[in-house]
């Protein structure tokens, strides 16, 4: 039983990070109908920049408490990633609006490769470890344990996601975003500056991506130029699972996927009599993706039909 609870907790931590990244995919998809393949790389850049800022500060002999250092790192990484997201949209997507769907997908893949290679140039090919500045004390809940850090990650994710949903529902920008996603041409006629809304969407998504990147790096204690690929793909799966284009769906899909993955990894060994082990963890996301697309292409909460894609 405590293994079950432990896996649920692990899944919750993983899942809330997926959810945060999935929001970036789903917002862009909702508004422009395209998969921002380079979003995973934004997550990676967020993690890398934060680590660089923290180690620079520490190297300069500035002794600050750990959480404050991470916060300063984030304050640099978030604007950096927002700028990156803005640039990606300007360079790779805006000129291709209205082109066949294949074109933006290929520029996105190309951009992904470029960003990874730039990351290698700047940060090298090796894993970079996250400075040991955050406490790793554990709290135990009914026989299962969770670190304080992980608890903070979950709470922070939920708070941010709640804030985003509120923003989309209540603010003027949010209303403009919803209008654009329903019909960009008509939204334009109603006085919405569609280009600004799209830029803003990319920037918000990238900012969330930066935070998620830092969370991944703190959770695994490391970052790597290639980390964005797999986590991006899983977050995309989460977005599809929840119903792409639907914000609440992305949150639910992310958390669900995280839990499926960790339960799967925890039990697959026992279920297959040791034939398949926990290193098959990564398969679950893809299986979920394929199954959802076959049986319920609109996702758990989606109203759109997959045929649109």
């Amino acid at each position: 039983m405590d293994i079950f609870l432990q896996q649920i907790l692990n899944g919750l931590v993983l899942g809330s990070i997926y959810a945060l990244i999935a929001l970036g995919y789903t917002m862009v998809y909702g508004i422009m109908g395209l998969i921002n393949f380079a979003h995973g790389e934004v997550v990676m850049v967020g993690a890398m920049v934060t680590i660089t800022v923290i180690s620079t500060l520490m190297g300069a002999g500035i002794a600050l408490p750990g959480p404050l250092l991470v916060l300063i790192g984030l304050m640099v990484a978030i604007p950096a990633c927002m700028l990156l997201g803005f640039t990606i949209e300007r360079v790779a997507y805006r000129p291709l609006r209205g082109a066949p769907r294949l074109a933006p997908l290929i520029t996105a893949i190309g951009l992904s490769i470029v960003l990874q290679q730039l990351a290698i140039l700047i940060w090298g090919r090796n894993y970079i470890s996250f400075p040991q500045i955050l406490s790793h004390d554990t709290i135990s809940i009914m026989g299962a344990s969770i670190t304080e850090l992980q608890l903070i990650i979950v709470v922070l994710c939920l708070a941010i996601m709640g804030g985003l949903l509120l923003m989309v529902e209540k603010t003027k920008l949010g209303r403009a975003m919803r209008a654009t996603s329903q019909n960009p041409a008509v939204a334009g006629l109603m006085g919405v500056n569609v280009n600004t809304v799209i830029s803003a969407t990319f920037m918000i998504g990238s900012g969330l991506g930066a935070i998620a990147g830092v969370m991944v790096a703190t959770n695994y204690d490391q970052a790597h130029y290639y980390m964005g690929f797999l986590i991006g793909l899983k977050a995309f799966t989460a977005a599809v699972l929840g119903g792409i284009g639907n914000l609440a769906g992305a949150v639910a899909g992310g958390i669900l996927l995280g839990i499926i993955e960790s339960l799967g990894a925890g039990y697959i060994g026992g279920l297959t009599g040791g034939f398949l082990g926990s290193h098959y963890q990564d398969i679950f996301a893809f299986m979920v993706l394929i199954l959802v697309l076959i049986f319920r292409p609109s996702g758990l909460m989606g109203e759109k039909v997959a045929d649109r894609a």
């Binding site: 082109a99 769907r101 997908l105 290929i106 951009l111 290679q117 040791g274 990564d282 394929i290 894609a309």
Partner: protein, 358 residues
């Protein structure tokens, strides 16, 4: 008119003959001018042509975006390797293992095709990507508890292709001349490449080829014209996978060693880039794309390092890094400037123009 047509065929025939002669002496020219490693690059170029043509059936003809194509290559390669290496102690000849690999690849093609029939566009791309990754993860991990694929270490000492007593893996001695294996494989690959080109050519101008075009341009209209969408899609996946499987078997025999590393997502993207850069749906264009993208990296490898040494006196960017950076940039720029590819088919170009207007 009839005379003009006859003349045209003769001219075409002459062109093909000339091309054949060029292809036949090309490795000898390249080999004597630049050395055997460049002939090896030519061999790989031929493999990539087969792969790119296979993917072109799926992406170019039928318009189904496949990002996991390398999985079929892996299936072909592992079939050959498992049935022709000391790993299981089985040594079947190539004329059994290569067709078998192609058959398995086709089966996987249909296996992948069936569930994703309803999907289109980016969704299809992501699912095929996931499928490719699943195959890679399995190949990577199926070494315990029962060792099937030998995991990340890969399979070693794979049998070379053998005709009777002649092995393509060893230098051939004729009249005191020793012919390097890279040449032997070149001619073997060339024959198979020509077969694949012919298959694609005949398919394109057949009833099936026209059905694919119809499917690509408007699937609803195609269905209304009486085309069985399901079968025609599955056929595209199966025939594309066939070329992938053949190329995989050849790769295993040529290389003598395979590991899961050779079948990553980047390879799938590379092949897709060949198809797209060359010109989707146009056989000569795809061949051009495959040659460019398989030769250019080797060329850059030889150039980037020395150029940096000459201009800056030291290495600023590691050549591998610079190569990938250029590759990524080329993909982006190509899509922005000429999304229909270097040498597109007229029809495909028209579709691109049409979509841009609409």
């Amino acid at each position: 008119m009839a005379i003009a047509g006859k003349f045209d065929t003769n001219k075409k025939l002459g062109l093909f003959l000339a091309l054949g002669v060029v292809m036949a002496i090309l490795p000898i020219l390249i080999g004597s001018a630049f050395g055997n490693s460049w002939v090896r690059t030519l061999d790989f170029a031929l493999l990539y042509i087969m792969l790119a043509l296979g993917l072109n059936i799926v992406v170019g003809f039928a318009g189904l975006l496949d990002l996991g194509f390398i999985a079929f290559y892996a299936v072909g390669a592992y079939t050959y390797a498992l049935l022709g290496s000391p790993h299981f102690g089985i040594h079947l000849p190539f004329y059994i293992t290569i067709p078998l690999g192609a058959l398995f690849a086709m089966m996987f093609g249909v296996l992948l095709g069936t569930p994703v029939l309803r999907l289109k566009g980016d969704y299809l791309a992501i699912v095929t990507l996931g499928f490719g990754e699943i195959i890679r993860i399995f190949v990577n991990n199926l070494n315990a508890p029962v060792n099937i694929t030998n995991g990340p270490q890969g399979i070693n000492l794979i049998d070379p292709v053998q005709f009777g007593g002649v092995s393509l893996g060893k230098p051939l001695e004729i009249a005191g001349l020793s012919i390097n294996p890279v040449y032997l494989y070149y001619y073997f690959f060339l024959i198979l490449t020509v077969l694949v080109v012919l298959m694609c050519w005949r398919l394109q101008h057949s009833r099936i080829g026209r059905a694919w075009v119809a499917l690509r341009e408007n699937d609803i209209a195609a269905a209304a014209m009486g085309i069985n969408i399901r079968n025609i899609k599955l056929l595209a996946f199966a025939l594309g996978a066939l070329s992938g499987g053949v190329a995989g078997g050849l790769f295993a025999s040529f290389q003598g060693f395979i590991s899961p590393e050779s079948f990553g997502l980047l390879e799938s993207i590379m092949i897709l880039a060949m198809v797209v850069l060359g010109g989707m749906g146009n056989i000569p264009g795809v061949i051009l794309g495959a040659v460019l993208l398989s030769v250019a990296p080797e060329f850059l490898r030889d150039v980037i390092g020395p150029v940096q040494m000459a201009t800056f006196g030291r290495m600023i960017i590691d050549p591998e890094n610079a190569r990938m950076l250029l590759f990524g940039l080329a993909m982006v720029l190509m899509m922005l400037i000429r999304p229909e590819g270097i040498w597109p088919s007229k029809r495909r170009q028209a579709e691109f123009k049409d979509a841009k207007k609409g």
